[in-house]
Amino acid sequence: TQLLEQSPQFLSIQEGENLTVYCNSSSVFSSLQWYRQEPGEGPVLLVTVVTGGEVKKLKRLTFQFGDARKDSSLHITAAQTGDTGLYLCAGAGNNNDMRFGAGTRLTVKP
């Protein structure tokens, strides 16, 4: 059983469309991170959210942490082909070791 469930597992959209991916858990996390990973590379940190209800924006990306700190979403506006990649959410454990979801693989077609 995964600690963090990410949905959808795969998403294929056209350039210019909007999308939202989700990260859900039955556990409460002190903080949650979103990463993007490309083939042959390690995960690259996009954002850390720590406060329930927090919303952070990074250009066309909007991250939200649920009020109960059990879930999070990532919304991308006007997706570009360069957004293609594997998006991972990870919750911080007691020693800041990260517990990862399986990821959402996003493909943005031109």
Partner: protein, 113 residues
């Protein structure tokens, strides 16, 4: 500033052999983490160093895995003897304090045949 460096990037070994993976964290980062992704599964935590001390090794699969961080700088992860199920990508990450500057390396892809 150099990022987290892992060596080798790929390794193919036979079952029963020994392999040693190396991770050089970002200079000044006291925290060093090892993770692993086996095919089709999520990235899983293996262990955590604070400087040269093992803070948490609850994720280590079994006693065939040995991690060290002598002097609190680079770390090695040795698998001896390797089994087929050890195949996967091994990631290292480091951070300054807590989640500050949490950075992953590019990983070592280990294939045991």
């Amino acid at each position: 500033e150099a990022g987290v460096t892992q060596f080798p990037s790929h390794s193919v070994i036979e079952k029963g052999q020994t392999v040693t993976l190396r991770c050089d964290p970002i200079s000044g980062h006291d925290n060093l983490y090892w993770y692993r992704r086996v095919m089709g599964k999520e990235i899983k935590f293996l262990l955590h160093f604070v400087k040269e001390s093992k803070q948490d090794e609850s994720g280590m699969p079994n006693n065939r895995f040995l991690a060290e961080r002598t002097g609190g700088t680079y770390s090695t992860l040795k698998v001896q003897p390797a089994e087929l199920e050890d195949s996967g990508v091994y990631f290292c990450a480091s951070s300054h304090a807590g989640l500050d500057g949490y950075t992953f390396g590019s990983g070592t892809r280990l294939t045991v045949v």
